[in-house]
């Protein structure tokens, strides 16, 4: 079974705070891919990152960083020094090697960054 859990429904922070969005996944496949997408109020899902199951290196892109830990089946996303423009719904997704084209999305975490 494939499943993605984003337990945090909504998070509110004040600008410049750091915030971590949690993502826990379930899969029996040994080869799989994890994604994060951002959905601002305009509605478009914007691709942020893709990680494959063999690459556990953490990744940093500007104020964004991702922590992939296979031992805990987690792929968490941290925004450092948050800004109002980071306000959006963030989705974590799972794609396994043998479920071609079938993305499993989490329910999303709504991030509110207040000035």
């Amino acid at each position: 079974a494939q499943k993605v859990t984003q337990a945090q429904t909504e998070i509110s922070v004040v600008e410049k705070e750091d915030v971590t969005l949690d993502c826990v996944y379930e899969t029996r496949d040994t080869t799989y891919y994890l994604f994060w997408y951002k959905q601002p109020p305009s509605g478009e899902l914007v691709f942020l990152i893709r990680r494959n199951s063999f690459d556990e290196q953490n990744e940093i892109s500007g104020r964004y960083s991702w922590n992939f830990q296979k031992s805990t089946s987690s792929f968490n996303f941290t925004i450092t020094a948050s800004q109002v423009v980071d306000s959006a719904v963030y989705f974590c997704a799972l794609l396994s090697r043998y479920n071609f084209n079938k993305f499993y999305f989490g329910s999303g975490t709504k991030l509110n960054v207040k000035p």
Partner: protein, 115 residues
């Protein structure tokens, strides 16, 4: 950059009308997808197409049909719109074919209201 466009951002239709939602991608992607997004239900796959004139049902195909006559264009058709089809519709595309594990890129979405 991948560009996925959708014909309308907002659409209001009446019950029983035939509705066409169109999606165009400019990156020569093989795969195109239609999702609907509803509060509390997340993103659900309606149909996807892995080649011209080829399609597969997703999780919720009932009440919908699709058409892919050209590689760059994928249409979602509501033969007789009903109020329970009021939703946000998202189109996506990805590079690979039927057995692909490629990243999906999304369009801006169409908010459809059926009165």
């Amino acid at each position: 950059d991948v560009k996925v466009t959708q014909s309308s951002r907002y659409l209001v239709k009446r019950t029983g009308e035939k509705v066409f939602l169109e999606c165009v991608q400019d990156m020569d992607h093989e795969n195109m997808f239609w999702y609907r997004q509803d509060p509390g239900l997340g993103l659900r796959l309606i149909y996807f197409s892995y080649d011209v004139k080829m399609k597969e049902k997703g999780d919720i195909p009932e009440g919908y049909s699709v058409s892919r006559e050209k590689k760059e264009r994928f249409s979602l058709i509501l033969e007789s719109a009903s109020t329970n089809q009021t939703s946000m519709y998202l189109c996506a595309s990805s590079l690979g074919g039927r057995h692909s594990t490629d990243t999906q890129y999304f369009g801006p979405g169409t908010r459809l209201t059926v009165l």
